[in-house]
Subunit: 310 residues, 2 copies
């Protein structure tokens, strides 16, 4: 048996069990059973060293970040997790690297109930491609295009934390000791271990008209939501929800991170007026006829993250 | 709208239609409907420049090869194609490159009835990760582990062509003008445009006990089949099926390519004695109690392709 196969067997076959898995890692393909009367939800995301995470990022963090960001697309469709596959490209077959990666993998598989049912391990520049599969009751997937004029724009939890965390780990931000080490750790975790909002699926299917996950900054992603719905959107910067650590940061900095920083993987959703909002869902704007996104504060020059932008 | 999104929209959203596609490219995830009483079959494969295809390979050929090899895993499970996603990592947003790639993509989507429902385009070293989704009637997926003692080992079509094609395009083989230019083209196409044997799915589900696709050379892949079935296998090199171009090549060279060359993406299947074999399915050996793969001819030192091998 080739060494590649031994490595795959050891590290990628440990996390593939579940009642939905008829056949896991080790055959030509995995076989999965879906609940009756559901549709399949599929999304793929590639993370490349240097582009999506800093060099020398811990492999454990590469795993949690890659899987978290991919899984967030399921949350944005109001889908339930089913299973995932991972294609991993590594410069060399490094057992220590794989051991650390597998720790992040194990954490994500358990946290998101997303067994790993297929893997491909290849020699090459470091990258991780995660393809996630989920299910929704047939006809109930929540797309981007359903917002109506008057719907409230709401966001889950808090914004800007991940961009602050990236600035911290990249050495681009010195918080001048206004933060405790616990608060710094919280912000770094928000970048390395994004939490896809899978637990909102049921509420969103019953109450929301459109949703997107915030990967490129609130302005850019709300722009996608508004455009897909054929509407405009007005944001009120004074209503953006911030975590305790960011509440201590100067206002302009935290607004820049929330509006244009990206990487939060919170959800931006459209909710009709009259629907009672649960905890951790904050109204921050309103959908209107027209187009474009307006905000009383605009970050300097930026409107989101564009991999191939100028 | 960012340039990345424009490129994705233009090149990756053209090929996503089909009755099985509820929602294609352009939202957070795709939504697919499966036929009733089926299970989902999933596999992912990454192709990296320099490792899986020569540098300066035409983007059209990168597409057909990446999609063909991934789709071959569906064929090996006796599954029907449903849809695919592609994560593409490119050093720069090169319109000419994407245009050529999309030509191969269009060809594969049509040939394999496999709409492209999700894409991710990222800046980085050139690689293509294809994740394929298929379906099988519930409980009917054909794994590697079902062969029984006495079953015949059979292979579809011909072997060794792709390895000969790779030798040709890599300048490692000069056929000394014993081949016509049409024959050389045939061999190169067999490397760049592998044909997943999807049309065998129905026959295999009804008649075969185990199957694998031949990506690493017949010896290595039959080894996987035999091991998964808890058996050994005896091969008869005189029965290996060759195409007309390879029949003119010296015997040792063509046996090396067939047994250890890889990249053919034909199927190796176990078929019980008594089952009538259709055209293009050739018996080349027999499963036996015990373990290991025996052949009257063994290629020098090699037993297949191992990405991380010594």
């Amino acid at each position: 048996m080739g060494r590649e196969f031994q490595l795959i067997q050891r590290y990628l076959s440990l996390y593939g069990a579940g009642p939905q898995v008829t056949l896991g890692v080790g055959d030509d393909a995995a076989v999965l059973n879906l609940p009756p009367n559901t549709e399949l939800v599929v999304s793929t995301d590639a993370l490349v060293e240097g582009t999506h995470f800093p060099e020398l990022t811990l492999p454990e963090h590469i795993a949690t970040r890659a899987i978290g960001t991919a899984t967030s697309d399921l949350a944005a469709m109001a889908a339930e997790p089913l299973a995932m596959t991972i294609a991993l490209t590594l410069p060399s077959a490094d057992e220590l690297w794989l051991h650390s990666f597998s720790q992040g993998l194990a954490k994500a598989v358990q946290q998101f109930s997303l067994p790993l049912v297929g893997g491909d391990l290849t020699r090459g520049p470091l990258s991780v491609t995660v393809t996630v599969n989920g299910t929704v009751p047939a006809g109930r997937a929540l797309g981007r295009g359903g917002a109506r004029p008057g719907d409230r724009l709401c966001v889950t939890h808090t914004l800007g934390d991940a961009a602050a965390g990236l600035a911290l780990v990249s050495g681009l931000w010195d918080p001048d000791h206004t933060l405790t080490s616990d608060q710094e750790q919280f912000l770094e975790d928000r970048f390395y271990q994004p939490t896809p909002r899978l637990d909102w699926a049921g509420w969103l299917r019953d109450n929301a008209t459109a949703a997107i996950d915030i990967s490129d900054g609130l302005l850019a992603d709300v722009g996608h939501l508004a455009r897909a719905s054929g509407l405009g959107c007005r944001l009120d910067s004074s209503r953006l929800p911030f975590s305790a650590p960011l509440a201590t940061v100067n206002r302009q900095q935290r607004l820049d991170w929330a509006l244009a920083g990206g990487d939060d993987y919170e959800l931006a959703v459209a909710v009709p007026v009259g629907v009672e909002l649960p905890a951790h869902l904050t109204p921050v704007g309103e959908f209107v006829t027209g187009d474009g996104v307006e905000c009383d504060y605009m970050p300097g020059g930026q409107s989101g993250y564009d991999h191939f932008g100028a």
